[in-house]
């Protein structure tokens, strides 16, 4: 009997188009949109800045410094041509080199800022030399000048193990959302066991198999389907869209499985404890899931960092954050203690929810459901 219910639950879920849409088509659609929107975004990297130089003095040290820095691709020209080059976007900045130095830019921007910082640094060096020449003129022939103009790298750049892509977090939060979308399936599982929810539930309550057995078969079938959907989603994001998940597949599937378990059982406990209609219960669970996703970073990666640093308690109590955080940890740090803590949290949450659901279901009895039955959709 258990196997029979298990198989028919799977068949029934596969035949429901809306279930298939929300549990697998929608997350894949979202992943494709994420990929389309964010794959083109890269960190700003240093490139040579096209610049025009309008020089009105001879032997300019500033121009020499700019040329030697390798930061600029300089075209020396007159003021009118320089302005034309700027207006047509062929250069980002005009270096006005006369008695004083000034810059002309078309717009504010990164290249323009780099040029401004370079010019400021040059002016500051000149100012420092002026100050030293007043304070101790002899020092300009010694270490002071050498220290000021040396190319020695004073700050050692330490590399981090993985140059992580922050947009990967969006996909992790999406997977977490997909795991918790299973909660909406639980609403119908529970509705089929509560005789006052539908005619089908009333019939099932009269059937010989024990409620616990029907619940277990339904839950296991839904959990199985949810795991399969999410494994497919992970594989699609990983292999088709090329998002990095780290090296180990097993821990990834482990956290996805735990996430599905927590999601589906969380839906059960909420459904069994509340007395709203099926639609309202689904609405509450979707609102919970989407809010959790927001704090897990599905809408902005900045939110994850704010939560991590300023509201760590929120990350600890949000099961959706726990799933996406585990995927982040696996990608950026590998398997570590925090990963196991997240895994244990999800499994314990799932077990608490399942025990609570069973406890409530066991005591629910119906003397009569006449007059309470909601209208069936025609």
């Amino acid at each position: 009997m258990f196997g029979h219910i298990f198989l028919y639950t799977i068949k029934q879920q596969l035949s429901e188009k809306s279930v298939v849409f929300w549990l697998i088509v929608f997350p894949i659609f979202m992943a494709v949109l994420f990929h389309a929107a964010f794959s083109n975004i890269q960190d700003e990297t240093l490139e040579t800045i096209p610049a025009a130089a309008v020089v009105t003095v001879q032997n300019s040290d500033f121009l020499t410094a700019a040329e030697q820095s390798g930061m600029f691709e300089i075209t020396q020209t007159d003021a009118k041509t320089a302005q034309n080059l700027l207006d047509t976007g062929k250069v980002d900045v005009i270096l006005n080199v006369g008695e004083d130095i000034s810059l002309t830019v078309g717009t504010s921007g990164l290249n323009q800022s780099v040029a401004a910082v370079f010019a400021d640094t040059y002016r500051q060096t000149v100012s420092t030399l002026g100050q030293i020449s007043v304070m101790n003129p002899d020092a300009l022939h010694g270490d002071a000048l050498k220290n000021l103009t040396s190319d020695e790298e004073l700050i050692h750049e330490e590399s981090v193990s993985v140059n992580g892509d922050p947009f990967a977090v969006l996909y992790y939060a999406l997977i977490a959302m997909s795991c918790f979308m299973a909660a909406t399936i639980s609403v119908s599982i529970i509705a089929r066991l509560q005789a006052n929810q539908s005619a089908l539930a009333a019939r099932i309550n009269c059937a010989p198999p024990k409620k616990l057995k029907i619940f277990s078969a339904n839950l296991l079938a839904s959990f199985t389907m949810q795991c399969i959907y999410n494994y497919l989603l992970v594989l699609f994001i990983w292999k088709v869209l090329g998002v990095d998940f780290g090296k180990n597949l097993v821990p990834i599937l482990g956290v996805v499985t735990a996430g599905c378990f927590a999601g589906i059982t969380f839906g059960c406990i909420i459904s069994v404890l509340t007395k709203f209609s099926e639609g309202m219960k689904s609405g509450i669970l979707i609102a919970f899931t989407l809010t959790g996703c927001f704090f897990a970073g599905m809408m902005s990666t900045d939110v994850v960092y704010i939560v991590k640093t300023q509201m760590p308690w929120l990350e600890k109590i949000n099961p959706i954050s726990r799933i996406s955080d585990s995927l982040y940890l696996l990608y950026y740090y590998g398997v570590n203690q925090q990963y196991y803590r997240n895994l244990i949290f999800l499994v314990v949450l799932g077990l608490v929810c399942i025990l609570g659901t069973v406890a409530v279901l066991r005591v629910q009895r119906y003397q009569s459901v006449s007059g309470q039955m909601p209208e069936e959709d025609s």
Binding site: F29, L33, A36, A37, S39, N40, I41, D43, E44, T45, L46, D87, D100, S102, L103, T104, V105, G106, T107, S108, Q112, A116, V117, F118, D120, T121, R123, Q124, T125, S127, T128, Q131, I132, M135, N136, A139, D143, A144, K146, N147, L148, T149, E152, E153, L154, I155, H156, E157, E158, S159, V160, N163, G164, V169, F294, S300, D302, Y305, K308, Y332
Partner: protein, 382 residues
């Protein structure tokens, strides 16, 4: 007026509270994203600032002065002095440069040694390089002063950096600088479409049920009059949604929107509302009730991602932009971006803006034409 009232009744019973909830949630999210940016106060050069975190383990006068200097030239980021915090800050791009000033730094410099300053930064990142350049410049200057005078002369260093080079601007705001109003109105593209496509097709579909169509066909009221009432009811709901989002915009931007710029943003939003209204009609005649919510989600999210509502258009790839150009939302976002760039509002400068408005209206006409075609087929089925 009977049908008008009935339409509003169905809406009130079926969708009103959810629409209200969605409007509040989306307004909140829009506000969250838009408050990360500001509206420009004047047309001047704005130096792009790096996000810098300095971990001072030396606590000397020099290290404290250097920290203060860097924070005056960059945006300060607070992070804890541990490896996980450093790595997290780099991963989430919260900090472009994390600089560690080691213990004994000042003493080592005084002894003529080179202290081991460590920086963590995004490889080849321009912002990080810019901040690192400033830090190195500060250190070199401090060493030079010490060599010349036997003191780091931190006050003199501050004076040396206090006189920046003059930068004149000739053009408009940078393409990659987004104003608060622009971010807000771009995010509204998704919000408005999501709310309207959730609310309206669901009510309209109930009018398209076969039994309802047959009853209406037998009723004394003419088709034109009935459709006019439905349209009026939909316009009332749409205008309500438009007003709610406009109110949010005014609350967040204040007097900045009490200008021609504000009027242009609002006109663009109103045009989007009209286009979305026509999409709602189209969805209602081409789908069944169960599928309407799914289709609404796909259309609103698809348009938002393809148009640059979530990610600025200048960051989208060329293929994305080409595909996006086939959605009306793309032109709404383009018009918003255009408004934010303008300083003067003349027929010449507003050419692109009105072109975007025109394209959106053409989309609306196209949707109405398809809807009429599908509607006619449905009527004959009844």
């Amino acid at each position: 007026m009977h049908i008008f009232r009935y339409f509003l009744k169905v809406f009130r019973k079926g969708s009103f509270w959810i629409v209200l909830m969605y409007t509040v949630i989306f307004s909140g999210i829009s506000a969250f994203f838009s408050t990360m940016t500001t509206n420009p106060t004047e047309q001047a050069f704005e130096l792009e600032q790096s996000n810098v975190a300095v971990i001072d383990r030396d606590h000397s006068a020099l290290s404290e002065s250097m920290t203060e200097f860097l924070y005056s030239k960059a945006t300060k980021v607070d992070i804890q002095d541990d490896e996980t915090a450093i790595k997290d800050a780099l991963f989430f791009r919260t900090a472009d440069l994390i600089l560690i000033l080691p213990e004994g730094m000042a003493q080592q410099l005084q002894a003529g040694q080179t202290p081991e300053l460590i920086s963590y930064q995004i490889p080849d990142g321009t912002y990080g390089m810019m901040a690192k350049q400033l830090a190195e410049s500060y250190l070199r200057t401090a060493r030079a002063y010490f060599a010349a005078t036997g003191d780091f002369q931190t006050e003199k260093i501050t004076e040396d950096f206090a006189d920046p080079v003059t930068v004149q601007t000739t053009g408009q705001a940078a393409e990659n600088h987004q104003t608060r109003a622009q971010v807000l109105f771009n995010f509204f593209v998704y919000s408005v479409m999501a709310v309207m496509l959730f609310a309206l097709p669901a009510v309209l579909i109930s009018f398209h049920r076969t039994d309802m169509r047959r009853r209406n066909a037998a009723a004394p009221m003419g088709v034109t009059r009935r459709n006019l009432m439905i349209l009026t009811a939909m316009l009332v709901i749409s205008l309500g949604i438009f007003m709610a989002f406009s109110l949010t915009a005014f609350l967040l931007n204040g007097s900045y929107l009490l200008s021609i710029r504000g009027a242009l943003y609002l006109l663009n939003l109103l045009v989007l509302v009209i286009v979305t209204l026509t999409i709602s009609f189209l969805v209602s005649v081409s789908t069944k009730k169960g599928a309407a919510v799914s289709i609404a989600q796909i259309i609103s999210l698809g348009c938002a991602f393809l148009s640059g509502s979530f990610v600025p258009q200048y960051m989208l790839g060329d293929t994305m932009k080409t595909i996006g150009a086939f959605t009306p939302a793309f032109w709404t976002v383009k018009a918003n971006d255009e408004i934010s760039k303008l300083n003067t509002f003349t027929t010449d400068t507003l050419g692109t803006y009105f072109q975007c408005i025109g394209i959106q209206l053409l989309f609306a006409i196209a949707f109405v034409s398809i809807m009429l075609l599908l509607g006619k087929r449905r009527r004959t089925e009844a």
